[in-house]
Symmetry: C2
Subunit: 178 residues, 2 copies
């Protein structure tokens, strides 16, 4: 999928609507990917993101030690792969291979982009002090990529137990909010 640099100042517009994301990590030449929806913007610029990564999952220790990841945003066409990645563990499965996802080299971090995702955010961990208590990692987005051809990406939003809301119509209201 085509990939273009995306302004860091606009990254909040990708995450604020609350899409399911995929978080990639890599260590020792082996990449992993997990599915998650527990993230929030914390600041606009540089974009700071809070991300919950369970300490029961395979990604937790990799993220803690490498302090790098990529947040990839999938659209509804990838829903089955997204669920597949959420239902398996990187401990026993090479998820990129199993779910036919294509890793692509990032520019600032060792974790890979996911070529099939419409947006990819290269991140470093800037604060892991809340990881022990809340599984909370504070990330800074260093570099953002987007597929410029996707004008209205159909992101998916997890409603629990296999149900997903697919991004619907867009409305515009007069607002001073950023």
């Amino acid at each position: 999928m085509p990939r273009k640099s995306f302004p860091l100042s606009e990254v909040y517009r990708l995450l604020e609507p609350g899409p399911v994301v995929m978080l990639t990590t890599a260590r020792g030449g082996r990449a992993n990917v997990m599915t998650q929806s527990w993230h929030t913007m914390i600041d606009f610029e540089p974009p700071i993101v809070g991300c919950i990564v369970s300490n029961r999952g395979y990604s937790f220790n990799i993220l803690k030690s490498t302090r790098e990841c990529v947040i990839s945003i999938p659209t509804v066409e990838l829903a089955r792969k997204v669920v597949g990645c959420g239902n398996t563990s990187g401990r026993s499965v090479d998820k990129f291979k199993k779910f036919h996802l294509t890793p692509a080299a990032a520019s600032c971090v060792g974790a890979p982009l996911i070529a099939e995702c419409y947006a990819n955010l290269e991140c470093k961990v800037i604060d892991a002090s809340m990881a022990a208590r809340y599984n909370l990692f504070i990330l800074e987005v260093l570099k953002a990529w987007i597929d410029p051809s996707r004008k209205h990406p159909r992101t998916i939003h997890h409603l629990g137990r296999g149900y997903f809301m697919v991004a619907g119509r867009v409305i515009k209201l007069p607002s001073k909010m950023k």
Copy 2:
């Protein structure tokens, strides 16, 4: 709007899809409400939520001192009021009055529910230690309410600069994910 107790174990299903929420606070007999989208689930049960409340806003000090709030989830019918609350400050405006929102007594906290919202979550601050650095408050949901008549609530999801995505169709996939 009718209101029914909602199981705490299911609260994540309301917040995980990333809706715009309204956060109410109260102090000295005066209630306030702010609009925000920067929140994340942190744990399932009891439901723990991370919430970013800017230290430039009127709610910050009230939340910090009272350690109580309500997270109310509006649907698209309320979009203009939601934007109105996001574009004004409680310092100078009684937003409940100005935007014709109806405060309703909560059962566990001093902050009010918003009667027009389809879901209301009564919360206490359990950790404000990241408020100074990240504007991050860790909340525990004590009590949840929902309008049982709303089977497919059209929540709104902020895309920035006055654009909102309205919750679209729902799909179901086989999944072991909670």
